[in-house]
């Protein structure tokens, strides 16, 4: 089974994010970058599928700056076979432009399965995986929380508001992965050492036309100073009164 996993380098979710001097990007000084948490599920799923099939190859594809090679190495340390970096110094906010670059790389790869995380926790664009599938003319099930693949037939569950949607498609397919799909492994020391020797091919990203521009970045509106209503159960009646008369939510 030949599987591609598309990953992204993102700031750690525990990072404080400050807007950079130019106002068009974030200040990366002191920010720790990680493999996008949802992509970990995609990498893990690919590894498990390869192990189950007994043969195959897992190729990690990232689009981003040179530093994204470190992100690819994390996936290689988990057990992926090789990496491809589509080099772009800045990732545009236009998800379709990004999807076109990834689709161009994946189109003739002969992949049985292409996996993405369901979203990246930096820009929350939540669109690139599905777009790549559509550009390639492949079936796509997004935000997969449970997955079965039997003889080329895919059955997947995804969470919808107040329920679960069960979908089916055939391989080759593109899937985007949600949190409850599996438990990602930690890279073992042996894996980290082995990853250093695994190849990463670097080539320029063939981005599509960028038709969405960042007009401004602003900090979120500050919440007005709140107050401690009181301590213990004695404060409950006052809280309820405030919710009713001041906040008017009851």
């Amino acid at each position: 089974m030949k599987i591609a996993v598309c990953v992204k380098r993102v700031p750690d979710t525990e990072s404080r994010i400050r807007i950079g001097a130019g106002g068009a990007g974030i200040d990366e000084a002191g920010v720790k970058f990680i493999l996008n948490p949802y992509d970990e599920y995609a990498v893990e799923e690919a590894l498990q599928r390869r192990e189950k099939a007994g043969a195959g190859e897992v190729i990690v594809v990232a689009l981003g700056p040179d530093a994204a090679q470190e992100t690819i190495r994390v996936a290689l340390a988990m057990g992926a076979d090789r990496g491809v970096l589509l080099k772009a110094d800045a990732i545009p906010p236009d998800g379709l432009a990004v999807a076109k670059a990834l689709a161009a790389e994946l189109r003739d790869g002969g992949y049985d399965l292409v996996l993405f995380g369901k979203l990246a926790v930096d820009d929350y664009n939540h669109q690139v995986g599905v777009m790549v599938a559509e550009l390639l003319g492949l079936p796509c099930i997004s935000s997969v929380a449970k997955l079965a693949i039997e003889g080329g037939a895919v059955t997947a569950e995804r969470e919808i508001e107040g329920g679960i949607e069960v979908s089916a498609c055939a391989l080759p397919a593109v899937l985007t992965c949600d949190k409850s799909l599996n438990t990602p492994r930690y890279p073992a020391l042996k894996g980290i050492m082995a990853a250093k020797k695994k190849p990463i091919e670097v080539k320029p990203a063939q981005l599509g036309a960028v038709r969405l521009q960042v007009a401004a970045l602003t900090p979120p509106a500050e919440r007005k100073e709140g107050r401690i209503v009181g301590e213990g159960v004695a404060a409950v009646p006052e809280l309820v009164r405030l919710l009713r008369t001041e906040a008017k939510v009851l």
């Binding site: 709140g226 919710l243 939510v249």
Partner: protein, 323 residues
């Protein structure tokens, strides 16, 4: 190019609440562009469309097909794209719901038009659509300017207020496009008892580590019940510990919520959690640690033992709502 297409959502033939919000967002854009709003309803024959005129649509377009009773990714996308092309719209507005997040990127490719996801504000600047959206889970607000048309935007649930009174929309048929389905929805398993999703609920009651064990979430469920139709949420710590399902997680690797009221119980307020709920209109925090970061964003806080406070609060809320 001043007209706007609003792509609505139905489940089992009934319009979802977010559909009215999509129409409201489309109305807002159309008024600025000087155009009209067409609301598209996709469903099985007989799907209800009556409410959309009142929500602010000038015209309702109904695309009916037997295969459209539940979500059909390929057919829905092709139908939206066909409607968008035939109307020559300047903008297409969808919902950033579970279905919309799957549908909108497909439509973007079919129309070769860029998409702004999870939009919380809409404006125009010299005829161009500018969409505002939180990134880094709300740590930064990004304004995106479209330099092409149509502008595709998917709006975050619970953000745009449905119009109180609107226009008397007329209903017209539009083509249901049914390509060979690459993906088939086999079944929708409804959660029992009309559970409200945390991302769309008007009131969210969330629990964290302070509850000490999964069995104590009964307290959270009871408090949610006291509010009527509140949803239960959870912090990442308790989801990672396996106490609660991932679908309930609020925060940067969970859901971002904007309810009228958010009640955080036994949640200290990690930065990634605050990012997910800071746009709630009113925030209440109950925590034993008076220095917990959650109190910095809470409008009202009670310091103390949640095991005493929560049952009393549920009781008082029930009384207040009954009276």
């Amino acid at each position: 190019m001043a007209n706007v297409l609003a792509v609505t959502e139905q489940r089992a033939g009934a319009l979802r609440k977010v559909s009215l919000e999509v129409v409201a967002a489309a109305r807002l854009l159309a008024d600025q562009l000087g155009g009209t709003v067409d609301a598209l309803v996709i469903g099985a024959p007989g799907v209800s469309a009556a409410a959309l005129g009142a929500a602010g649509a000038d015209r309702v377009l109904s695309a009916e097909h037997a295969s459209f009773a539940s979500y059909a990714p390929d057919g829905y996308a092709a139908t939206v794209a066909a409607a968008a092309r035939s109307g020559g719209y300047g903008a297409v507005v969808l919902a950033a719901s579970a279905t919309g997040r799957d549908l909108a990127p497909r439509v973007a490719v079919l129309l070769d038009a860029p998409l702004a996801m999870d939009v919380t504000g809409l404006a125009t600047d010299g005829g161009a659509v500018v969409a505002t959206r939180p990134i880094y889970a709300g740590k930064v607000i990004e304004a995106l300017r479209f330099s092409s048309s149509p502008a595709l935007v998917a709006v975050r649930p619970n953000t745009f207020q449905p119009a109180a009174a609107g226009k008397a929309g007329t209903v017209a048929r539009t083509e249901a496009v049914v390509p060979a389905a690459r993906v088939t929805v086999l079944e929708v398993k409804e959660a029992q008892g009309g559970v409200v999703d945390v991302a769309e609920a008007d009131v969210v009651v969330s629990g964290g580590r302070g509850l000490k064990g999964p069995e104590h979430f009964a307290l959270i469920e009871d408090l949610a019940g006291a509010f009527g139709n509140a949803a239960v949420g959870a912090s990442r710590a308790v989801v990672d510990a396996g106490w609660r399902p991932h679908g309930e997680q609020v925060g940067q690797t969970g859901k971002t919520v904007s309810p009228s009221l958010y009640v955080a119980v036994g949640i200290s307020g990690a930065i990634q959690h605050l990012a997910g709920m800071r746009t709630a209109k009113t925030i209440v925090a109950i925590n034993k640690d008076k220095d917990a970061p959650i109190f910095k964003v809470a409008d009202y806080g009670i310091v103390g033992d949640l095991f005493e406070i929560v049952p009393k609060l549920a009781e008082e809320i029930r009384k207040a709502r009954a009276g």
